[in-house]
Symmetry: D2
Subunit: 346 residues, 4 copies
């Protein structure tokens, strides 16, 4: 039998556990050689043993320095992302890092450069690019089916707002929530964003406003290839996770609607009813979480380039920061201006 | 038998003929007593006789001064709208006027005031408010079914671009095309627009650019009631007339999809296919053209207020002008600023 | 102006009035020269005058013998159908007759032969053939899009059961209700029925059972061209008029779903809901009632053959009688056997 | 950690492998202790080792007599089913057996009785009962949402016909294909079938006719609870696996449509297109294959009764045999008659 690729995981929170379970059940050819969590508990240890993971540690360095391990999945807290990428890259490990790349663009840049210099693959966890529906749209537009892309429209609404405490430390709606949509917009447009304009308000929960954030936003986009776009976000769609994308072009339009649990239609005297959208990201992007890891493994194996690069993560983050600036100053903000302000080489 | 209400029509172009035919076939209790067209031809005369119209004239004054006529439908060229409204109002006739109210906001204002002073009803021809789908959404939101309105989204795309010659004299995409959507946005939000921001480009036909216009646009909106919105326009959706509206609020979302000719689904080895949207406004808003006249007749009869007022027409026009300014200057423009510039009392 | 074709109507009940109003508003080139009703009332007279009908009479002979009238629409009670067809045909008038052709197959046969001998057009009122959805399916299958037809499936359910009194004199579910579906089945299969097998039960209303009828039925069909089919009927679909057709063949399937008032989708915490089907035949087949008359006028004008012939009406009726026999005797019944029993030449 | 339940698998063909892989990846708390295949090969051995299966043997007795093993999944060839069930039951093992229970009703009966006497659970592999869509319908009808059940409609069409060689040894369309639908019908009706009537023809492939079978069939059903039903089958739906169910009752209708790979709608000048149904049973019933095993494990654990019993398997088989008889003799056949003929106690 072929030797399996050994992977280490840093961070055993919800998303770290999800990746670990997906890998052990659904990603063939890969074995989890170790997992670390700075807040290691008996529960985590027992769960990890159940998955057959041998090295279970509180120290991420144990994972990074393990000579058996070829690639590392970083699921630790956001402020550690760049540091972990840098350490892993220096140790010659390929890296899959959850989004965002860091809270600091500068540290993110350093992480990307370190990965490049050390010749390791770096993939960011923008899993929606691997969603079956959105991927199909991208395939159709790449095949020329919708012609030249004119408009990219993204609807992205969460089923329920986070707690005000979460909001306060989240970096705000653009960095915490819409960053996924900036990535999706760039993915679907096949082009970088050049300018954003944001409007938004506190309509869902006044506590979110008190925490200094908004909960409802619309952002328009200009792309380098001439296309334009728009994203709308709400922290609360009471009917469930609303995740739709449309790419409109010179030859037509491709639209992805929400997934549902069943196709059942119930017709009664009250009306005709169907299922609500799948509840939240764990349900909707269940398959995408597996596909992104498979793609990462394939990229390590040289089958194709990394599909969501560190550079993507930086561009997405800069778009999010520009949107925040746009909202605050009530004017469009170019990515060029934002990069200049951040000291990012253009 | 009850005596029928006598109506006159000014202008026998495409839309004047459409109203005349609708009224004679589908609007009970109303008789067309006269029709005028400054370019009267044998064809128009013969067509009007076929409908049983007695007074057929080149002179609109003949219609305006006809003592039998209680109400006038103005379908003449746009630059005459305000003059005709004013003349009709002074003659004590109720007025239904095609959109826009005029090319000049000032003349439009004067027309609205004249109608008010003379105590006649004035309705503008924003027929989409009477579309079965969009009306249902408004009814749902008025009934509280979607809760407080947070976001209004409008997709509005024509099946084919107009000629560059038409574009050159059209007033541009915002006044010619998106004005319908500004009206729809205000209708659905149940609130006036306070600020717009426009982005757009020439993506469909370079000749449109040479004519000084754009053919693809996205405009974001702020409403007085705190809601936000977005409209996207394209001069060419190759699959047909794309007319969709979504109203999203605290209790849910109501979305109207396109109408189709049939419900037939064809499943073959090539795929599963359905009908394209109805081709253009004559097909899609066929019923709405009848409903708006019925509503006008009812408003004259005192059954309810006019459903699309002259003031609505002015607000829509000012929003369109603000969008043009926003696009030109690359910044959001408030309605307050626009009104000040136009010398409109706030 | 071209001279209009003069039409007479016999019977001013619900369906007679519907045809009269459709013709006067929506069928160009035709004028209603007279209408009769054996139970003439002031209300009917006043309604007819409102439509501009000149000859209003209690005596159908006045219509039949009117030398101005070229064609007659028979909407009188079913037991008079054949007699009226025969009288009209002998007077040289083209005939449109509501379904069924008669309560007696023998009289129906005679009516068909009389029309043929007198060289007048005879069209039966199976309006569903003119429904936009079902017509599209037939066009697709005639164009070869679904290949050879293998299976025809028809769902046909009324929104609410008729009164037991109506049921008692209706001729039973097969003659009263499913006869439409036998006609649709023959239309869609492009072939006559050769054998039927019926099962059914009283599940909706025990009173229907006491009246000697059933209210729920499934009938399988064999067609002369080798295809097979199935029809299901219920007297009560609480969600509205359920009228669906599927034609399945060697190259695919074409399915028609129900029409709805709007396309609006409402998503709330309770679920995702859409419109119920249009309520009943007046709503669903509104356009088909107009189209069938237009087609009749065109057939008279020689533009095409009659689209629903007297022979169709007889075949449909014999299928309905065979279904009744099948249910009663608990076995399949061939059309050949039924025709033999009825003394109909094969 | 809790001790895992040890399972053995008899038969390592396509379906045996599917169950083995599902169990090892997706069914927690269960370990595959052994697998047998009378045609053991190096490939099977290597595949089984890859799954970590310890006992790999050509002799099913090794599995049946293994004292570690608590339950056995029988995926051997159909003619061995009853023998394997009997042997396993006598050894005190719970049994999950692929459908049909046997080629012989009598042996099937013996198997059911042996399982009962030995107090082991016996579940049949009618996986469609565990399909998310069909299960939702059953839940809705059990909750009373559709009221009393009047009509059960099942559409079941394969994407491509089997080879004539397969057909020749398949037992015919009713035993090989429609048996799933008889089971679904009984499941959805919540009642046993009392009478069937079959019509059918060779419309897909003349070779199927030469092999003594038909490829297109419609069967009507009467249920013990008074409901009626209909199933249509085709060996070839060129657009993919067509698997739909409708349950219609006094309070409404619940319908399940096909599953698709994505929700993407593509609108172009050619039309509006969506995905075809998932290709075949491995795709469509992917989740159901896992759920049926989970349910079996839960039934062994006493969490609920077996959801598809041996008795179900016998009833389904008898319905299939009755349908064959009905087709041959051109008349309805009662289950009572069929059981009498088969010597099955009623």
């Amino acid at each position: 039998m072929e030797k399996k690729m050994a992977i280490g995981i840093i961070g055993a929170g919800r998303i770290g556990k999800l990746h670990a379970e997906n890998i052990s059940r659904l990603v063939p050819g890969v074995v989890i050689a170790g997992i670390s969590d700075v807040h290691m508990t008996e529960d985590i240890r027992s769960w990890a043993q159940g998955l057959g993971i041998l090295r279970i540690t509180a120290n991420p360095q144990d994972i990074i320095t393990d000579s058996e391990i070829q690639a590392i999945i970083i699921c630790s807290s956001t402020e550690t992302h760049a540091d972990m990428i840098i350490a892993a890259a220096k140790a010659g490990k390929h890296v899959f890092c959850e989004k965002p790349i860091d809270l600091s663009v500068q540290k993110g840049l350093l992480a990307v450069e370190t990965a490049r210099k050390n010749n390791v693959r770096l993939q960011l966890g923008f899993n929606r690019r691997f969603d079956h529906n959105f991927r199909k749209i991208r395939e159709l537009s790449k095949a020329g089916t919708v012609g030249d892309i004119h408009i990219v429209k993204i609807t992205s609404r969460d089923p329920a707002p986070p707690s005000p405490a979460y909001v306060a430390s989240s970096g705000g709606i653009f960095l915490d929530m819409m960053i996924h949509d900036f990535d999706m917009a760039r993915f679907q447009a096949g082009s970088d964003i050049t300018e954003v304009h944001a409007i938004g308000s506190v309509l869902v929960d006044p506590e979110i406003g008190k925490a200094g954030d908004i909960d409802t936003a619309i952002v328009t986009l200009k792309f380098a290839n001439g296309a334009i776009g728009v994203i709308d976000n709400s922290r609360q769609a009471v009917y469930g996770y609303d995740q739709r994308v449309e790419v409109f072009g010179s030859k037509g339009s491709a639209e992805a609607f929400n997934d549902t649990e069943t196709t059942v239609k119930l017709s009664t005297a009250e009306g005709v009813a169907g299922d609500k959208p799948l509840y939240f990201f764990l349900e909707r992007y269940k398959g995408a979480f597996v596909s992104e890891i498979n793609s990462f493994i394939e990229a390590i194996g040289g089958k194709h380039d990394v599909e969501v690069t560190g550079e993507d993560g930086l561009e997405d983050m800069i778009a999010a920061l520009a949107a925040g600036k746009s909202l605050k100053e009530g004017r469009p903000v170019t990515i060029r201006e934002m990069k200049k302000e951040l000291g990012v080489r253009q």
